[in-house]
Subunit: 205 residues, 2 copies
């Protein structure tokens, strides 16, 4: 009676240091019907990175050809390297019935919203900027100046949260993971997603 | 930093026999920040029913005076008795920070949607009309004719599910309760509901 549902698309953004990557990893580990979209990039693979797992590593010419074919939901050039989310990749996962997470920055999120207004966007906030500053310092890899620059950038990104559909505060990883799951599960219960079941119920009776 | 949030308003409707009342009771029992709106009615209390708990029992003149003051979110006259949901009652619970459930029929839901477009509406479906028929027969209190009439009515009501925001299938009480909770919790994570926290984060830094 019920045909396979297309999965929904979720944009997840955050300021750096907010725990986004940890939360997305947990969600993927605990939910078999979730996938993260694997980005294309022209940068060189780092130690341990695999093609098709961490990124689709492609030459610059191929990336630019994909741009000209409008093959990306969003793309950006960061310090000379391209990064992008392929429309075909996301559509294929969604058609297989997976909910698809796009783990992207606020500029990418804006591009996706323009192309796919039905995508659900979630911004992850730190409990406070003081705690975010503590987390960035705790990494111990950056100078005081670099941390100040990243905090100013975080503040700017957090200002963009006003354009997102949902806001999750990462004050506790378990709670934040549960909150993300509430949003994702609710997406499957929207009437549009249940329409085939509803039609079947009324037809086959 | 975070001021007390207003609760959200959830319309929950279903065809009779779908398990709506059981599910709402479970939700209320397991979630301290949820309340159900207590309706006004002009019908006489039945054995065991308490004023202010099951209904606000009021005289017909008072009910009609409330109608003329536009004091109801929705109201109806069923077999000569009035039933209605008071705006003041719902607002008061929401202002105290409770999420408020309106357990009402599809006509009432339509009235509420017109007045409160921000209310979130959920329709509970049976897994199939055969199973619904089985449940209605299982009660053993109605004649075959009465059951046929109620099934036809259920079919008509289920047709109205197309106007609701979310659809939950009650094939398993635990699963359906979890689904309702996903929708209710996601409501608390909407950007509009989190705006005060977001503003505080950017101000106090």
């Amino acid at each position: 009676m019920q045909s396979k549902k297309k999965g929904n698309i979720f944009i997840i953004s955050a300021a750096s240091g907010t725990g986004k990557t940890t939360l997305v990893s947990r969600l993927l580990k605990n939910n078999a019907d979730l996938r993260v979209s694997i980005s294309h990039t022209t940068r060189a693979p780092r130690e341990g990175e695999e093609h098709g797992v961490h990124y689709h590593f492609v030459p610059k010419e191929e990336f630019e050809s994909l741009i000209s074919k409008k093959a990306f939901l969003e793309h950006a050039n960061v310090f000379g390297n391209y990064y992008g989310t392929s429309i075909a990749g996301v559509e294929s996962l969604s058609n297989e019935g997976f909910d698809v997470i796009l783990e992207i920055d606020v500029q990418g999120a804006e591009q996706v919203r323009n192309v796919l207004p039905e995508a659900c966007s979630i911004f992850i906030l730190p409990p406070s900027l003081e705690i975010l500053a503590g987390r960035l310092k705790g990494r111990g890899t950056d100078s005081a100046d670099a941390i100040a620059t990243r905090l100013a950038e975080a503040r700017r990104e957090i200002g963009e949260a006003a354009h997102f559909d949902f806001i999750v505060v990462n004050d506790d990883l378990d709670r934040a993971e549960a909150d993300l799951l509430h949003i994702i599960k609710a997406g499957r219960l929207k009437r549009q997603a249940q329409q085939a079941f509803l039609d079947g119920l009324l037809e086959n009776s």
